[in-house]
């Protein structure tokens, strides 16, 4: 375990990183002691990944210094970081699936014989030495695509070890592992730390943090909140530090504005492999939440209603009109709009300015009405409280929250009856989240039916009039505002028979 006279191996001092409109890191200090397991905790957007990118040489800090064994270093590229003994094991493994275990471990450093050909014998020996440090036995000649995720992860770690890594950064290493493999991994981590290798461990799972780490650092909104030895803190304190004041807590729901007229009816909607038998009625002015985990079919349902990936069977009725063969263009003209999950890839054209983005779905005549476009975009720009120099600003330079406001503005410009919002607050800061909630409420007050899909259940609970819970593509339960709490939603969304052993922080 920890030992006071162990030396500090990495010291990061006053690290800041600014992106347009966002402070990703704000003067963060972090020190890593030789052989320690240092947990890094924080919600999405807290700055963990930026910090790791800086350590991995993928991006450079705007301020601050990094010291390695007391010497100041500048990490210009991933190559510099590897050379400095820092290895990043990211969620998506950096392996070449077709190549063998040996080749993956030794990639870029395959030893040569005196004839210049590959010296396979010594390559295999080095690879197996690295694996044996992990206490893992693998067939070295098998292509890694045939290995399990846990085994592939081991290969990645072995690759780092064979490069003499002194610090391993593991980003959500257990997110794709089955439960029994998690224990193996934790054992491996303990074994590595006892050999003097430091590990920076990033996870959402508090149970793992308390099982394996020596110290914990909590980040929130780009700031360092606290670093402390693990035995001086408990899990509820960590959650409190991570969450701080949350957007849903800042938001108080006003009176519901549901009118007694249906605007969207969905009957027995089924799409093979995605969801089945989905039925609900959305009324004018209603805010309907769809709660579901990743892969529950939540996004697919919205895409089907919007005509992107039409359903195999079932009926969709908009404002009393039955829709045959829904298409995107058809749904838009029927007054339906979708703000998709991925703003940058599906919601915006980053190379265009704010005004062009806002107007792109509502250009009705072949010749443009420039004054009209300007009026619409200026109006929405103001109403939404978008923070940007002007309507001619490129959307690529806006922060996530402002970008989301532009996506929603684009749809408001079409005068929608139904607005489908897929994860509208993902990756945006607290203030902007509260803005989006208020906006949703204003829409409803004007009689627009809103469907909001989210994996952040607290926000659904505080914003929606009604929540449908999905589990594996089926409607599992339905609650009115105030009827359910986060635990209940989570229990239904994850399937009540599934006894989850660890506590997961779902705020992020």
């Amino acid at each position: 375990m920890m030992n006071a006279d162990r030396k500090t191996i990495i010291e990061m001092k006053g690290i800041s990183k600014y992106y347009p409109g966002v402070t990703a890191l704000d003067h963060v200090d972090l020190d890593i002691i030789e052989g320690e397991v240092h947990a890094l905790a924080g919600k999405n957007g807290a700055g963990k990944s930026t910090l790791i990118k800086i350590l991995g040489g993928a991006t450079r800090p705007d301020t601050g210094e990094i010291f390695l064994n007391g010497n100041k270093v500048t990490l210009h590229s991933p190559h510099d970081s590897i050379a400095a003994g820092i290895a990043i094991i990211s969620q998506e493994l950096m392996l070449v699936p077709e190549l063998s275990v040996t080749e993956n471990i030794m990639v870029g450093r395959l030893p040569k014989t005196k004839f210049g050909t590959v010296d396979w014998q010594s390559a295999r020996q080095s690879a197996s030495e690295a694996l044996s440090q992990l206490g893992i036995d693998l067939d070295l000649n098998v292509p890694v695509k045939k290995l399990s995720t846990a085994q592939q992860q081991a290969v990645e770690i072995a690759k780092a070890l064979s490069r003499n890594a002194k610090v391993l950064v593991m980003d959500e290493p257990t997110s794709s592992l089955p439960n029994k493999e998690v224990d193996h991994l934790l054992d491996t981590i303990r074994r590595l730390s006892s050999r003097g290798i430091s590990i920076i461990y990033i996870t959402h799972k508090l149970k793992e943090i308390f099982a394996v780490s020596d110290r914990i650092t909590v980040l929130r909104d780009g700031k360092l909140i606290q670093t402390s030895p693990i035995n001086e803190i408990n899990d509820s304190k960590v959650v409190e530090l991570m969450v701080g004041k949350s957007a849903d807590a800042m938001f108080t729901k006003g009176p519901s504005s549901i009118q007694n007229a249906p605007v969207l009816e969905v009957k027995n909607l089924t799409r093979e492999g995605s969801f089945s038998d989905i039925s609900f009625t959305l009324k004018k002015g209603e805010i309907l939440g769809i709660a579901g985990l990743l892969g529950s079919g939540r996004t697919e349902i919205l895409r089907s209603i919007f005509g992107v990936d039409p359903a195999d069977s079932g009926e969709i009725t908009v404002d009393g009109r039955k829709i045959e063969n829904p298409t995107v263009t058809g749904m838009i003209s029927n007054g339906v709009s979708l703000a998709p999950e991925d703003r940058k890839l599906q919601g915006l054209v980053l190379s265009m300015n704010i005004s062009d983005n806002i107007n792109m779905a509502s250009l009705h005549s072949a010749l443009r009405h420039l004054s009209e476009e300007k009026k619409i975009s200026k109006d929405l720009f103001g109403r939404m409280g978008v923070k940007a120099p002007s309507i001619k600003t490129l959307v690529s330079s806006l922060s996530g929250g402002n970008q989301q406001k532009i996506v929603i503005s684009k749809w408001l410009a079409t005068g929608p009856k139904v607005v489908l919002l897929d994860e509208p607050t993902r990756g945006i800061d607290v203030g902007a989240k509260a803005d989006i909630y208020r906006l949703v409420e204003q829409l409803a007050a004007k009689g627009v039916g809103v469907i909001m899909v989210s994996s952040e259940f607290p926000e659904l609970l505080s914003v929606c009039d009604r929540i449908i819970v999905l589990h594996e593509g089926r409607q599992d339960a339905e609650f009115l505002y105030g009827e359910a709490d986060e635990e209940t939603l989570m229990a239904y969304a994850s399937g009540t028979d599934n006894t989850r052993s660890d506590r997961e922080v779902t705020h992020g």
Partner: protein, 318 residues
């Protein structure tokens, strides 16, 4: 203060082709006394007109996020049609011009449908089309050199004519460029073109028929290739059957020099116009300095490569 600085930076960035054109022209005026003469300048402009018109069309395809590398052969086919259909009187001339333009539109539509429907790489598809069109031209001419005698005078005028001392092709070039820029700036199609090239996913999810947008962009590119071909035929009246093949590189150089993005979504006809003049000013300077043809080819190739590299670096910077 900072805002003002950024604003100036942005203005400079948006006008790099024009700034380069000015700098080079100034430099050549000093180096070569013949450069800044009315005769030489109109000469440059006239030479630039045909390829420039095609570059305007290619700008549309490129903004939509697709390449059109078939314009070289297409220009050739249109030129050969213009000579072979012997437009010696008005009715025959009208028919000839219509056939040449329709050929360009058809080839463009074929490009657009293949790229749009089957989502093939536009580079590969249009290179294939370049060969198909060349083949058609060779079959049509039976591989023979084509000349024409007694071309209808008004048709000859669009390639050779002068208004006063001012060559007429330049006026056509200007007109095509102005119309092109107006379409880009003031029509819904123009906006949809930028949106489609900038992010096809978002565009589709916003109700834009990106297939249709791309087909239209290719038709425009094909038709401008035909216009360029007709003008060259009218000017030379004497062509090799494989004329035009490979000239898409010149067109592409003009477009990229003009700041149109390799990845779509960015650019303008105004930029392409400057890019075209820039390329022809540089080749004119090489001629004035007595550079051998072989050296000129090497230089042109290098300009093309440097432009592509610069364009990629530029895009990465955002």
């Amino acid at each position: 203060m900072d805002d003002k600085k950024n604003h100036i930076k942005a203005v400079i960035r948006d006008n790099v082709p024009w700034i380069m054109l000015l700098v080079f022209s100034a430099l050549f005026s000093i180096l070569f006394p013949q450069f800044l003469t009315f005769r030489n300048i109109t000469n440059i402009l006239r030479n630039a007109s045909m390829i420039g018109i095609i570059a305007v069309g290619m700008t549309f395809a490129m903004i939509a996020g697709t390449f059109d590398l078939s314009v070289g052969s297409m220009m050739g086919l249109a030129a050969i049609i213009t000579l072979k259909m012997s437009p010696t009187d008005l009715p025959r001339t009208i028919l000839t011009v219509l056939v040449a333009l329709a050929a360009g539109a058809l080839v463009g539509m074929a490009n657009g449908l293949i790229v749009g429907r089957y989502r093939t790489s536009s580079i590969i598809t249009t290179i294939g089309m370049e060969y198909v069109v060349l083949g058609i031209t060779l079959v049509y001419t039976r591989g023979q050199h084509i000349t024409i005698k007694g071309m209808y005078k008004p048709l000859e005028f669009i390639g050779k004519g002068r208004i006063g001392t001012f060559p007429f092709p330049i006026i056509i070039f200007l007109a095509v460029a102005v119309i092109g820029q107006l379409i880009l700036s003031f029509t819904r199609f123009g906006r949809q073109l930028y949106a489609t090239g900038g992010n096809p996913n978002t565009s589709e999810l916003s109700g834009i028929n990106i297939g249709k947008v791309r087909v239209l962009a290719y038709i425009i590119s094909g038709v401008t290739a035909s216009i360029g071909g007709i003008m060259i035929a009218a000017r030379t009246q004497n062509l090799d059957p494989s004329f035009g093949f490979g000239q898409e590189t010149d067109v592409l150089t003009c477009v990229l020099l003009g700041g149109v993005s390799l990845y779509g979504g960015k650019g303008s006809v105004i930029g392409t116009f400057a890019g075209t003049l820039l390329l022809y000013v540089v080749s004119n300077a090489m001629t004035l300095s007595g550079t051998a043809y072989e050296m000129q080819l090497i230089c042109k190739g290098l300009i093309f490569l440097i432009t592509v590299a610069a364009s990629v670096i530029w895009q990465k910077k955002g």
